[in-house]
Amino acid sequence: MLSLNRIPVREQNPDLRKHNFEEVCFGYNEEEAVKEAARCLNCKKPMCVSGCPVSIDIPRFIKHVKNSEFEKAAQVIAESSSLPGVCGRVCPQESQCEGKCILGKKGEAVAIGKLERFVADWSREHNIDLSKKSPFNGKTVAVIGSGPSGLSCAGDLAKMGYGVTVYEDLHEIGGVLVYGIPEFRLPKEKVVKPEIDNLKKLGVKIETNIIIGKTITVDDLFDKEGFSAIFIGSGAGSPRFMNITGENLNGVFSANEFLTRVNLMKAYKKEYDTPVHVGKKVAVIGGGNVAIDAARTAIRLGSEAFLVYRRSKDELPARAEEVHHAEEEGLNFRLLSNPIEIISDDKFWVKGLKCLKMELGEPDESGRRRPVPIKDSEFIIDVDSVIISIGTSPNPLITSSTKGLEKNSKGCIVTDGEDGRTSRKGIFAGGDAVTGAATVILAMSAGRKAAKAIDEYIQNN
C-alpha cells in the first residue's frame, strides 16, 4: 500500500538552531531516500517534469534512487542541472515539480527536492566526477557575474570546449548564493564551493575583484581581450527603499546590507572584523525569501524579529518550507500591515515602526488580491532596528557603460526570446539581470540556454 505521507526529513531542533548558523535540514540518508523514492508512481506523463524550469527527468532519477543506483541518478540530474545541491535546497518545489505531483492531490507529493539534494550530496561525498570535457576549440567567451546564471553558462560552454573567463566584482564567487542566502539554508563550504570547484575542474577561469564597466568595459572585453562573445549574468543586486520618513535613521538597513555583512563578510563569526548591528527587536519589511532569510538571521543574532507584510499569509512569496521553519523559530508575523514611517528617538536611532492595517481587495495585475489600507488604523510596532526587504533592481553599472545595450524601464537588460540575445551583437544575458529578482533555477536555466545560443552564434560567425 502506498503511503500518502512523505518520509519525514530530519531537522535541527528549532530551539537549538535559532542560536546557531548550522544547516537546519539534515536531508535524507540512503535508507530514507530509497523509501521516499519508492513512493513515486513513475507516471507515464510525468507532470513533475513539466513543472521543472530545466526539465530534469525526475521519474528516471527517482527510479535510480529507488534501486540504490545513486551515481546513475546523479548522471540523470547532471544532464539538466549543474547546481543540484543548491537547487535541491532552495528551489520553490511546492510551486514547481512537487506542486504538479499526482500524489499531492490526495496526500503529500513525492519529496523531489529532498531527493535531488540527497543525490547531489551523495555524489559529492563520493567524489563522483560528472564533468565531460571537450578539447579547447580555440574560441573564448567572457561571463560577467558568478551567480547561478553565469556559473551554469560558463560550465556548459567549457564542456563544449570554449575557453571561459568569469569576471566577478566581489571578492567571492557565487553571487547571491554566497552573499545573500544564509549558511543555515545553504552551507557555503560544504555545498556551494564544491559545485564551483567542479566548474574550475572544467577549466573555467575566474577573476574576482573585476567590476565590468569600471575595471574593464564590455567593449574592451571584445576589442582588447579578444573574446568572441559575452554573457551578462550580473543579477539584480541594487536594493530598493520605500521612500518613507526615517529610512536613513541609524538602525535601518537594506536586507542586502544586513545579509552581506553576515554571509559574505561573516560578521556572525567572532574572528571576522566586519560589524553587524541588530537591535533587541527588529522589524523586517517584506515577504519574500530575502525577508524571511533576514528575519531568521536576526533571530540567530539574538534579536526578536517581526515580519511586516502588507498582504496575508497565503500571499507570502517565500518558499513554504522557509515560512514554516521561521514560524518554528519564533518569527512574529505582522501581516496585513503596511509601514508608513520609521520613528526616531532623540539620538537619531530607530524607536518604532508606524504601520497602517490593510485588508485584501480585488485581485491586481499579478492575480493576487490587492491590499488596501483601513482608515484610521495606524499602529506602532516597538522595534529598534528595521530591515527593508521590498525588492532589488539590476545594478546600472553595465548598462550605463555599454553603448547600444537596450534596457527596459526597470533597468533590466532586454533580450530577444529565450536564448538571451541582447540588442548588441555577440552579447547575451540572463538571470535576474534580465528578469529582475527571480529564482536560482530560472537563472541557471537562462545561463544554459544562452550557452547553447552562444555556441550557435560563434559557429555561424
Binding site: F241, F253, E257, D273
Partner: protein, 291 residues
C-alpha cells in the same frame, strides 16, 4: 593578491602605500576610489586613489590608522600583499567632464583637511598637468600632520596652510582663511572643492553658501560593497536618498545633509570599540594577521 611595492610612514599614524594592481591603475581617474580587504577576516574599506603609475601598474593609497581595520592595513609591510583590491569605483571627478578652455577661465579653490590632502592631490595634479593652477588651503592638526605639503605647494597658485596648534602656517581654521580671502581680500572663486573631515566640509559649505560659491564635496560615508548593492553608504542629497559609492562620491556640498551622515558614522561605534579592545588584548593574534 595585491603586493605592497612601497610603504612610507608620512605623518603620525599616516601611511602611504603603493600597491601593485595593474588593471585598476589602467582605468583609475582622479576622484575614483578602491575597496581594499587586507586578509580573509578583514573588512572591505574604501580608500581614494591618490596616484597611479601605469608603467609600474601601481596604485597609491594614503590612509590614517585610526580604527581596527586601518590599523590592520598599516600592519602590512613592503613585500606583503593584500588579499583583495577592487576598483576603480565611484565616478571620476566632475572636473574631468568639463571643457578645459572653460575651466582655464575659472578660479578654483581646493580646501583639504588632514588626510583629505590625499584625495585632492590627483585632482590638483590633473589640473596642473592641463595648465591650470588652483588656489589651495591645506589644514591639519599640527605641522606633523600636514601631508603632501611640498607636492601640492608647487602645483598651487596661491597656497595657504593652517594648523590647529599654530605649529605651521596660520593658527586658524580653514574656514577662517576662506572667509578672509573672500571678504577682506575680495577674492572671487568660481568653484570650491573641499575634502576632509565631515565637520570641516560642513562648515566650508556654510561659508560658501553664504557667498554663493559652487562647492563640491567628496563624501566618505560607511560602505560595505562600494558598488551599489548594499545601500550602507546612503546619504540624503537635495532631499533624495543617494548611494555615495555609485552616485558619488562627489556631490554639490550645498545639497548634502551633513548631520545625517555624521549620525550614520556612529552606527558601529560600539562594535568598533569592541574590536579595538579585542586587538589590544590579543596582541599576538593581531600580529599574526599582519602577515
Amino acid at each position: 593578491m595585491y603586493k605592497i611595492l612601497t610603504k612610507k610612514n608620512i605623518a603620525p599614524e599616516t601611511f602611504y602605500m603603493e600597491i601593485e594592481a595593474p588593471k585598476v591603475a589602467k582605468s583609475a581617474k582622479p576622484g575614483h576610489f578602491i575597496m581594499v580587504k587586507a586578509d580573509e577576516q578583514a573588512e572591505r574599506i574604501p580608500l581614494t586613489v591618490c596616484d597611479v603609475d601605469t608603467k609600474k601598474g601601481s596604485v597609491t593609497i594614503i590612509f590614517k590608522a585610526v580604527g581596527a581595520s586601518t590599523e590592520l592595513l598599516a600592519g602590512f609591510d613592503e613585500g606583503d600583499s593584500y588579499l583583495d583590491f577592487a576598483g576603480p569605483l565611484g565616478n571620476e571627478t566632475e572636473l574631468l567632464s568639463e571643457d578645459l578652455e572653460d575651466l582655464k577661465t575659472k578660479k578654483i579653490m581646493f580646501i583639504a583637511g588632514g588626510i583629505g590632502a590625499a584625495p585632492v592631490h590627483p585632482q590638483i595634479k590633473w589640473l596642473y598637468e592641463n595648465g591650470i593652477k588652483p588656489d589651495v588651503i591645506l589644514g591639519a592638526r599640527s605641522k606633523d600632520n600636514l601631508i603632501l605639503l611640498s607636492e601640492i605647494e608647487k602645483m598651487a597658485d596661491n597656497f595657504y596652510t593652517v594648523t590647529d596648534d599654530g605649529s605651521y602656517g596660520r593658527k586658524a581654521l580653514v574656514t577662517e582663511v576662506l572667509e578672509d580671502l573672500i571678504v577682506k581680500e575680495k577674492k572671487h572663486y568660481d568653484l570650491v572643492i573641499t575634502i576632509g573631515p565631515l565637520l570641516m566640509m560642513k562648515f566650508v559649505c556654510l561659508v560658501t553658501k553664504k557667498h554663493d560659491v559652487k562647492t563640491i564635496v567628496s563624501l566618505n560615508t560607511l560602505m560595505v560593497c562600494g558598488m551599489g548593492m548594499c545601500g550602507a553608504c546612503r546619504a540624503t542629497i537635495n532631499n533624495e536618498t543617494k548611494f555615495t559609492c555609485v552616485d558619488g562620491p562627489e556631490f554639490d556640498g550645498h545639497q548634502v545633509d551633513f548631520d545625517e551622515i555624521l549620525n550614520r558614522q556612529s552606527i558601529y561605534k560600539d562594535e568598533e570599540k569592541e574590536k579595538l579592545y579585542q586587538f589590544a588584548h590579543s596582541e599576538q593574534e593581531f600580529k599574526n594577521r599582519r602577515k
